[in-house]
Amino acid sequence: MAASPTNDHTAKRIVAAVIGNPNTGKSTLFNALTGINQKTGNYAGVTVEKKHGLANIGDTTIELIDLPGTYSLVARSVDEAIAVDVLASSLDGEEPVDVVLLVVDESSLERNLYLASQVLEFGLPVVVALTMGDIATKRGINVDARELTTLLGCPCVRVNALKGERLDELLKALAAILPSLDRHPDASRDPVSSLDSGFRRNDEMKGTAPLPNVEYPGRLRAAATELADELSAVLHAQGDRHTVSFQEAMRAIVDRHAGGEARFIKRLGDTVGPFIERARASLELGGLTPHMAEAGSRTRWARGMAGRVVTPGVPQGDSLTDRLDRVLTHRVWGTVIFLMLMALIFQSIYSWASPLMELIDEGFGSLGQLAGESIDDETLRSLVVDGVIAGIGGVLVFLPQIVILFLFISVLEASGYLARAAYLMDRLLRKFGLTGRSFIPMMSGFACAVPAIMATRTIPDRASRLATIMVTPLTSCSARLPVYTLMIGAFIPDETALGGLSLQALVMLGMYVTGILVAIPVAFVFRKTFFKGASAPLMIELPTYKLPRAKDILRAGAGRGWAFVKTAGTIIFITSVVLWAATYYPRDDALIAQFATERSAAEASGAPEDDLAAIDAREQAALSEASYLGQAGRVIQPAVEPLGWDWRIASAAVASFPAREVVVSAMGVLFGAGGDVDEESEGLRETLQKATHSDGRKLFTIATALSLMVFFALCMQCAATLATIKRETNSWRWPVFAFTYMTVLAYLGALVTYQVAAAIGLD
């Protein structure tokens, strides 16, 4: 690997990977060390978010990479695999790691030392940050940090990230590895070897990071030693001067399912496969399961280490977490509180976001007007105003809702409640072939399916993960809201029902419930058909409740919001421009001339502005009908008539393929109310209320409105979601599958809704 200019040691810059168990305060420490000097991006080729930042100490700059929280380096999920790949410096385009900052929870030292044993065996220099000291103290737990430093052979610094205590000491410990790197300037980026840097350093940096003395069973140790010798011989035969370490051989033997073996074969070539298989087979024949034997050895090592440095706490009375858990994890009360919390969150999202959404909408409206007035060329003006500005505005208008939802999710996550919600929902979701882990993505789906699908990475088994990805777009995301708002406002009577509840609010709630009621049985069917196999059992930590820090929450909300704008925004922007072209072309010159004549005559006769605007709207509608999109609507009209739709609704549905919310502006264009409309526009509502079929029958009835809403509740009209599914599954097969099944489901749902509603007299 070529030396990276940013990793030039003469400039005193080092790269540190921050790793630790989940809930150890790793991200809080990362934030405290890097402050505002943070960036988020993606690792090359995968969608796992890469968070990195800079910290300075003296004349040394430390680039910190915040790795996803993991309990082990045996990677079972996409997130965990990234942590291993970063440590091994085996990701293309990523800088090699110089030092590992291992975050260890002092209050659960024994458990945290399991990961520590694996990290230390990687052979990279390690600095340990001991966190959660305050919780340990409260529980009477005392850890001898000095003794731990001696036993692990690496600096252990007790820090308090929230109070900023001893952070400089920690950074100094990280920077102190610089001389050892200078002694081995080529250690991490030696192009001769095919091995990863982490293990490569085992040879060249012996003494800088002593390896933990994990006592493996004799037979496992012997097999790993023999394999190391055999593989070293293979390397030497290939002209590689490096040797394979005992730890490397051990990983190759024990990591069969988690990709360790594959990673190893990738580095050394196919010829080593039979050696590994033979070593493993001989152990299994003797009744020893390598990965279980290794896990047991590490647990014993961790217990031994903890036993020497931890003074256990005296049993305490119930902590605040215990008292809260008595209620919050209670089968009945916990569920009731959970449902109330969800209702409160969604209520807040809509009420808090509305003013901001209006502001953004008005801002883009003014921008469009300004652009319209300053561009003379008609085609360019239409492209900029109706394509570009309307496209970007259409995305950004949902940003407040999405950011607010993310803020709530961040609060739930940081407070420790989200794990309890997953615990509560596990029992229900398991009945339908999902697990509590599916809950978080499905909940995020109420804001936007794009980050929700990304959140499925924590689901370890592929079948459950794919099933969750497939049904998450059925939860009602914020893009459905404009469709619901328009239809309910225009066609559902403003009356009370069910003892004083607003009928309009009930229909809105019904739309949200429809998504969930359909998603759960669909998941069940998928798990029985396409995605068979047992779900990985629920195994999650329920962290201590904490009061989240506003700074961290705001940072997380802003980061995720920006990620949404970049991911979804780009796709929606591009497709909006394409959609504009489909509604703009072909230009019917005769039609344009006819309306120009009509307009001139009206102007000459001194007709009021409203009449002139009506002529413009009719012109727009006529041109839309003649456009490619209008033609497409005409073609599919026979198929949508049983849904109570005409060609204009069909065209608007086709136009909303890139994003559901586009249907509102598309209907504005197609029904001649103008493109600059939103779901609150009185003009559009009135136009729709007055719209008729070609035979003069009223087009929009309650039945039609319900049919359209059900269609949009169930359809997959979102290019950004499809692109995300493609990226997450690394295949076009699943986005095509999702689009197909959801479109069929949406059509059938709309058909049944219209026919039933019409039969009971709502037509």
Binding site: S108, R111, L115, A258, H291, T299, R331, Y423, P537, M539
Partner: protein
Amino acid sequence: MAPDMTTAHVAQEFSMAEAKSRVVYSVLRITGHDDCSCRLHELGIGEGTTVMIERAGNPAIVRIGSSKLALSAECLHRIKVEPVR
């Protein structure tokens, strides 16, 4: 006849799925060879760990030291325990 200590010891062994709430147990071993069994070790449950069911059910809430885990019954069946005397 003197009691067979081995038999007496084994007779005390049962899975955590059968354990009583709010009683402290000591883990004897983890059975099974799959990812779930391995993950239990990674989460800090191994031979000698003291555990307690804090809330029974499926999933159950299990206390290990000062941490709490939500574990499904499938996992609990793999954890063989004996009461702490």
